[in-house]
């Protein structure tokens, strides 16, 4: 029986659990057992879905942001359970923990995996490269565990049955603590999460000259504003509202893409969107092929005209 470990990050518990789907795609051809690692967290059992076992560590000396201690703990667990794969959510902490752990275990690591291709002979982990302009299929050397990180909302786990969950209370023997203290934690200013929006009005390079106008249209549609990487790179908006591979994956009911060409980097962040309207001076821009309606023209002019129309009606 093969074992797989999923690190459950308190920054993003639900998404950590979704990684069960990644485990399934990697190991489905054989019998395997899924372990979730919970450190100093309380989660209702119903959220733990189809994990076979939860390794539950309660030790207040292990801080959630202490990579050194976390690496030591997971190394110890690896020695004990001989995991075939370790899957870590690509959160702020996960993206620091995974490389450190991979180096400790002397195994390769593939970051931000978006797709898994498996046949009898090989396992290919696919991730975007060159800012998402192309997808690269990556193989790691034969040594175990296979290690990868996965961003939020990329895989969806369908719970069809709840297994009998085995809770393993575990006390690690040896770990070093890093000299680091959390002094303060405050919420980012942004009041909404684009991953939960029903309507997103999103701006790109073609809306750069007057990005503020987009807010006006969003208000009239009871929508929220998001943006492509171009806008973020230009400092016009905070990274928290960035859609795409290097930003967030979104699934609104309606997505209005204003002056966004739709490079793979951006489109990788659009998932299960029923309705897309795109406005672009180039009707052959990649985003147009995904759209229900393509408006050929200047994004800002369109925003003004549609806002006007909405106001009158």
């Amino acid at each position: 029986m093969k074992n797989t470990l999923i690190y459950i990050d308190q920054e993003n518990i639900i998404n950590s659990i979704e990684l069960l789907e990644v485990a399934r795609q990697i190991h489905a051809d054989q019998e395997y057992q899924s372990f979730g690692l919970l450190i100093n967290q309380q989660i209702e059992n119903k959220y733990l879905g189809e994990f076979d076992s939860i390794i539950n560590i309660k030790d207040q000396n292990i801080k959630s942001y202490d990579q050194l201690a976390l690496t030591d703990v997971i190394e110890e667990l690896q020695n004990e359970y001989q995991f075939e794969s370790i899957i870590i959510p690509a959160t702020h902490i996960g993206r620091m923990l995974a490389p450190r752990l991979a180096m400790r275990l002397h195994v390769g690591l593939v970051a931000d995996v978006t797709e898994i291709k498996k046949d009898e002979k090989s396992l290919e982990l696919i991730r975007p490269a060159f800012s998402g302009r192309i997808m690269a299929g990556i193989e790691t050397n034969a040594k175990k565990p296979i290690m990868l990180t996965v961003r939020q909302n990329v895989f969806t786990h369908h719970i069809d049955q709840n297994k009998e969950l085995k809770m393993i209370n575990y006390q690690p023997n040896n770990y070093n603590k890093a000299e680091i203290d959390l002094l303060e934690k405050k919420q980012c200013e942004l009041s909404y999460d684009i991953r939960e929006s029903e309507i997103l009005v999103s701006g790109g390079g073609g809306a750069l000259k007057d990005f503020e106008q987009i807010k006006n249209l969003a208000d009239k549609l009871n929508a929220e504003v998001s943006a492509s990487r171009k806008i973020i790179d230009d400092g016009k908006a905070s990274r928290n509202i960035q859609v795409g591979q290097s930003g967030k994956t979104v699934s609104p009911e309606l997505y209005i893409a204003l002056g966004i060409s739709g490079a793979i980097e951006h489109v990788a962040g659009l998932k299960n969107i029923e309705n897309i309207i795109s406005v672009n001076i180039n009707k052959n821009a990649p985003i147009c092929s995904l759209s229900d309606i393509v408006v050929v023209g200047d994004a800002i002019e369109f925003v003004k005209k549609l806002a006007n129309k909405l106001e009158k009606n």
Binding site: Q67, I199, A268, N275, I276, I293, V296, D298
Partner: protein, 264 residues
């Protein structure tokens, strides 16, 4: 204090075009730039030195020798010393092998703090800073948007980190690796006019594997644990789209679509 800035020169991905017919990346005429996150690391170090000139800054980069003119420009901006780690034998190194090479060079160096960027534009894995941290036995922090200048001391730094939802303030013991994000907005100063063509060659070293002495099995493709076996262009399901103009008719069409679907 002795500060090391680890930086990378990357192809400006904005210049990379995709040929949708041939399904290939067109990388001709793509310029190298200092990775934006890494530029913030150097900029912070220079800001610190501006206030307290006794700080010593060394920039270390790994890459082709063609980055030399760029590195020289950093030296003309008041960086004290620079090293380019460059050898054909390093080509093809993945993040694992790259971290090993850089750590091998760093392990004999004296420093109080290593500054890096968080992500690179090209690879975007963010592996190197924490992997070097592991190899050197140092703590590391990514996504730093601010380093408190007044409280930046030999044994301790106070930093602000953004994780998407929260702004977190940490006190971290030094030496450690601090990885900035371009939102930190530290900006590289201009080169002063009189330094524009300053000869900086005595402050620049080029280090090959002859000096480092790493075994061939540890570096390049051989020393890598991951390899790219395929590249794909991502294909998306196409919709039956309606193309309209940006005129009254077009706006009416969009409006009735929104109405029909219940969005207005």
């Amino acid at each position: 204090m002795k500060i090391i800035c680890l930086v990378k020169y990357v192809p400006n991905v904005e210049d990379i075009k995709y040929d949708y017919e041939k399904n290939i990346l067109i990388r001709d005429n793509v310029k190298l730039i200092l990775n934006p996150d890494d530029a913030c690391a150097v900029a912070f170090a220079l800001e610190l030195k501006e206030h307290q000139p006794e700080h010593e800054i060394e920039v270390i980069t790994m890459g082709p020798k063609s980055v030399k003119p760029f590195v020289e420009d950093l030296l003309r901006r008041n960086v004290d010393k620079a090293s380019i780690i460059s050898d054909k034998l390093f080509a093809g190194s993945d993040t694992y092998a790259t971290s090993k090479i850089l750590s091998h060079y760093l392990k004999d160096k004296e420093f109080d703090c290593i500054l890096t960027g968080t992500n690179s534009l090209d690879g975007d894995t963010s592996h190197i800073p924490s992997q070097i941290g592991e190899l050197l036995g140092l703590n590391q922090m990514s996504n730093i948007t601010k380093i408190d200048l007044a409280r930046f001391k030999k044994t301790k730094a106070v930093i602000e980190v953004e994780n998407g939802e929260n702004v977190l303030t940490y006190a971290m013991q030094l030496p450690a690796i601090l990885s900035l994000r371009k939102e930190s907005d530290y900006k590289l100063p201009y080169i002063e006019y009189e330094n524009m063509s300053l000869d900086v060659s005595d402050r620049l070293d080029i280090i090959s594997n002859q000096e480092l002495g790493l075994a061939k099995e540890e570096i390049g493709l051989k020393g890598s644990l991951t390899k790219v076996v395929n590249t794909y262009n991502k294909n998306f399901e196409e919709k039956d789209k309606v193309v309209v103009e940006n005129n009254e008719e077009g706006i009416d069409f969009v409006y009735s679509f929104l109405k029909k679907k219940g969005f207005v």
